[in-house]
Symmetry: C2
Subunit: 383 residues, 2 copies
């Protein structure tokens, strides 16, 4: 099975390549190094000391994999036709909500990278390899926090109206579960959703659109070797919340939930994100099918996470800070997750085990990240 990974230099893309390679997949990838550039622009670094892209290309090559230095917009139809992948995993988007909210230029950048990029990709797939399975990374954040259970993609809507003979006429249709995105980044992911759903319905493409929860973790089974380690961001813009808390813990800084900290989200370990993506590749949708998968392990509040990191780390302080975002801080949250358990997904480790490993890894690079501790506290405001 041949897999093309868009964004092979990223937090997920890099270990995914090794995860699939270890299981006999033929792996190709592209990346335009934009994540490296953006983190540099934020005056931050990856906590882990990752190889240069050039060195990564060499080491992939030595292991029968290949990575090209191009972006999604540079994908040529002839190249894609020649490669003819069975699956294309699209991870090559601008992944940050704060980045998209900072100013107009960043918002433009987000929409062009993500929405225009996805449209470009859909046309290329249609022209070059219409049977390929597009595995697209969306986010649970597309849904926001409605006061209702969040369905997995489509849901059945029923409507009864008075019929001709005073009997109720019942009508039904399956429609995409409504979205309520909380940043321009999240809006861009909703736009992707509608683009892909339309392309599947109209052109008969096949796609799995992953609504992924918030990732955390430093390690995956296949990247334990020092030079294979994946990047790990901890700045306000590209660092996810548990990753930031773990860095704060290691640096002896207070852990800083935003606002009341009662916001609830779904979380997933990096290693299990790879497992899920592989299961999705192994169980493709039918031709013409647009499939949504809600991908997370458990729901926690931000305060609960801070407590867990503090406990695993053996003490420290938690200091709730003003919320830079505009989001509900007390809310119902019940996302439904059916697909992944049905194809055999099982969590690898408990959250405590994983956080314990993360803290161990981060303590080893404490000296490297200490000079950058200013990047953790948020400066980008939603207002």
């Amino acid at each position: 099975m041949k897999v093309l990974i868009l964004g092979i230099d990223g937090y997920i893309g890099w270990p995914l390549a090794w995860h699939l390679n270890a299981r006999g997949y033929e792996v190709y990838g592209i990346d335009d190094k934009s994540r490296r550039a953006m983190v540099h622009f934020e005056k931050s670094i990856s906590a882990t000391d990752i190889l240069s892209f050039k060195k990564r290309q060499e080491i992939l090559w030595a292991n029968n994999m290949e990575a090209s230095l191009i972006g999604v917009e540079d994908i040529m139809v002839d190249d894609l036709r020649t490669l003819n992948p069975d699956a294309i995993v699209h991870l090559a988007e601008m992944p940050s909500a704060p980045f998209s909210m900072a100013d107009r230029t960043n918002c433009d950048h987000t929409i062009k990278d993500n929405v225009v990029g996805t449209a470009h990709l859909l046309w290329r797939i249609k022209e070059a390899c219409p049977n390929a399975h597009l595995v697209k990374l969306g986010t649970m954040g597309e849904y926001g926090t409605p006061n209702l259970p969040i369905q997995e993609g489509e849901f059945l809507l029923t409507h009864a109206e008075e019929g001709k003979w005073k009997e109720k006429e019942v009508r039904q249709d399956r429609l995409l579960f409504p979205r309520r995105p909380g940043s321009f980044y999240h809006v861009s992911k909703v736009c992707d959703t509608y683009l892909i759903e339309f392309a599947c319905r109209n052109w008969g493409l096949r796609s799995t659109d992953i609504m992924q929860g918030v990732l955390y973790g430093t390690r995956t089974e296949e990247t334990m070797d020092k030079e294979l380690v994946t990047r790990f961001d901890f700045d306000e813009t590209f660092g996810t919340v548990i990753n930031r808390f773990c860095v704060q813990q290691v640096l002896g800084l207070p852990l800083t939930p935003y606002g009341k900290g009662n916001q609830k989200r779904g979380f997933l370990q990096l290693r299990d994100s790879l497992q899920c993506i592989r299961l999705i590749i192994e169980n493709p949708p039918d031709k013409g099918q647009y499939r949504t998968v809600n991908q997370f392990e458990r729901v926690f509040s931000i305060n609960q996470l801070a407590e867990i990191v503090k406990d695993v780390g053996g003490g420290g302080t938690i200091e709730n800070i003003p919320n830079p975002r505009n989001e509900a801080e007390d809310h119902y949250y019940k996302p439904i997750r059916q697909f992944l358990p049905s194809v055999g997904y099982k969590p690898s480790k408990t959250m405590e085990e994983e956080i314990s490993l993360m803290l161990k890894d981060l303590r080893e690079v404490k000296g490297r990240i200490e000079p950058y501790k200013e990047v953790i506290i948020p400066k980008t405001l939603w207002s």
Copy 2:
């Protein structure tokens, strides 16, 4: 009341300026002439012999209005702050489904004009005039043709689940009615919807997002003078269906519904679109409110329209041709329309009266449009 019209050179924008001017509004506008360029590129012309943009600028100026030759992306925050409009009517988007489906470049063009353009505009409004009422033109086509009544914007979803004491716990939330767009153009309008809804919710902007039916008509009360006439497109790409049928009728060509012709849509006269937009401006939403308005007069099938045009025109033939689009040809269709009647909207004329006037106007330019009759039959396929 000061109104800024984006797309003042267009089919709606031009007569809207005169409609508002006649009622005491201060009118400003911008346009980048892209519609003229695109229709030229399609090797077609406006059936009506409209003034050049430069002459239109002069005649607006002589009537205390003003139009600048710039696009939405060129709007500067300082200029907008100085103008400080009460309402901004955004009509400056790429308006064609077939255009967006022709190839990748056109699809890109559509997303950049519409989605990136709307995002740019939202940032400018937020920075320059956050109290201005954004009146945005969307389309009924965002909804597609679900097997359920189409709500006007948000709808109440109810969910009951087993509570702790075996009693049903009932939860409710108001969510945007799900969309099922039928082309990349329609997807771009759905993206606009999510962008604007988020900007209202997050920044406290106010907006009315108009889901408009298909327009038809040559005339409006204030543009009866020959040099004030609005453009009228009849090519497959920019001509709406009744407008195309009327041109076919006048040229003695068969009227050509696509496919079975049982597709149903909501329709509205151009003159009533102006009435609706004015009523929306006169009845603005609250600060922070995102309001959806379903804007059409009546629902017809395409075959019914062809019959009406044929009857009013006194004979002719109807010839259903293969459908270039991918759309349901037999379907339920019941869009709900509550806002406009509640603020006093009333249709000006019957469809037959309006079509009779259109045919009269088009007969006068028969010699002008005859050489362009090849542009009517569709060449762009959805597949």
